[in-house]
């Protein structure tokens, strides 16, 4: 199907926001208080706003968005509820941060729970039996892993900027764990690509598209590994997972510079994240893909 950039921006920035917010929550639970909490919270909030605005831009009639909006079984409605809850949680976190010198543990737990909930709601809205490539539990795990990479890498960079060396190791370890999971899950997704349940009618002809080649549902795996879609897969695997994993794993022990190494991990995760999402759209055929 056609690549929907607005929704790519939404899912990417929600992962950035949820990952950053959740990592701050983990710091609060661990009692690691530092100057980085506020800047990372601001980054998480801005990322959520960018994601929300990005999602809004794909509406053809945005002026009707709240005219009867709220059909609860709709993924969009659930995502909107998730975004509102997350903004409220960020405000609560901010207030609790300002009231005391240290963020209370309950606020940390709240940040982690709301971030996880947001990712679950976002992913659930793409769980459609009509789109076999999307409709996999692996997608939940992938978005969680990606959020951990983003959260870890951003915190690693901010730790360097605000000079809180004692937080670098945890941040770079989070990025390393997340990136390793991303590598694993992108590879696991190969199973989803090869086992997706598309209807296969054999040879066919569509008179409205007389020059279009027959879609070979048996060759999706091949197109991902070495065909026309390989560029997206390999970018997702190498840039999105392997490069951040290598840099974070090698450097997570010595608290290396976040601006240098964390930035490489973040850029890699961004490139890989976009590539993987483009791949999901390019291969997002409907179960009966001949219309």
């Amino acid at each position: 199907m056609e690549v929907m950039w607005s929704l790519i921006i939404f899912t990417l920035f929600v992962c950035i926001s949820a990952g950053s917010f959740a990592v701050q929550g983990i710091y609060a639970i661990l009692g690691k208080q530092a100057k980085l909490q506020l800047p990372v919270l601001i980054i998480a909030f801005i990322a959520l706003v960018i994601g929300g605005v990005g999602s809004f831009t794909h509406l053809q009639h945005w002026e009707r968005a709240f005219n009867g909006f709220g059909h609860i079984t709709s993924g969009i409605t659930q995502e909107l509820i998730g975004v509102i809850l997350m903004v409220v949680a960020m405000l609560v976190y901010f207030v609790s941060m300002r009231k005391k010198e240290s963020v209370p543990k309950w606020a940390g737990v709240l940040a982690v729970v709301i971030s996880c909930l947001m990712i679950i709601l976002m992913t659930t809205s793409y769980m459609m039996p009509a789109r076999p490539i999307w409709n996999s539990f692996v997608l939940y795990l992938f978005y969680f892993a990606e959020a951990i990479v983003f959260g870890g890498a951003i915190t690693w960079i901010v730790s360097d900027v605000v000079k809180t060396d004692n937080t670098k190791i945890i941040a770079s370890r989070a990025a390393a764990i997340g990136a390793t999971l991303v590598v694993t899950l992108v590879l696991v997704y190969l199973v989803v690509f090869s086992s997706a349940g598309f209807a296969n009618v054999g040879y066919y002809y569509d008179p409205t598209q007389p020059t279009k080649a027959i879609l070979d549902v048996n060759n999706i795996f091949g197109s991902v590994l070495a065909g026309e879609n390989a560029i997206y897969f390999w970018l997702a695997l190498l840039a999105g997972g392997l490069i951040p994993a290598i840099f974070a794993l090698v450097k997570c022990k010595d608290g290396a510079s976040g601006i240098s190494f964390g930035s490489i991990a973040l850029v890699g995760a961004l490139v890989g994240g976009v590539s993987f999402r483009v791949l999901l759209y390019v291969l997002g055929y409907s179960a009966f893909l001949y219309f």
């Binding site: 509406l59 053809q60 039996p129 009509a130 349940g197 009618v201 409205t208 409907s286 219309f291």
Partner: protein
Amino acid sequence: MANYALLTDLNRCVGCLACSVACKALNNVPIGNYWNKVLRIGPNLKEGGQFPDVEMYFLVVQCQHCHKPQCVEVCPTGASLKREDGTVQIDKQKCIGCQFCVMACPYNVRYLNLDEKVVEKCTLCEQTIATGGLPQCVSQCGGMARFFGDLEKGIETFEGAENGDKRIIFSDFAQPYSADQIHTLPDVGNEPKHLYLLRNAKWQGGNQ
């Protein structure tokens, strides 16, 4: 309470595309968009056969007005809705053009109308059937292969294009068939409603 559906006798369909053209003309479907299509399925080898022992048929695909439409479930504004007559319709005034219904449809039969910025699809010629008429793809079917009716009353009562001065009735008109020769498009939980009758050939695509 009616539950309207279509039945297509694929052994009668000659792939003339009259249904597609009639639909386009009546419903003013934009260029590049289709509310129904006639696909040629095959030529595929017959079961156990060797080339040139092949078979093929024409398959008319459109909104299946499902029993459990996923498009209705994902619509955030209730623009996609299931009417009391069992058809799935779109209230264009409510549609925000988010296209989640397009993604949720397993048959890809929904289109974004770029001029009106709303999603459209086959309405089963709602404006005509409400006054007792037939959907245009049925009344204009050159092969007299398409039948329209109420599933509650059984497919035997389904009506096709006029032959002379009255509509043909499926039970009178159809060649003998058995229940296992009636198929639906693949079902991924949406329970498609339209029926396809195919005798003496293998139904491709499966009833998932």
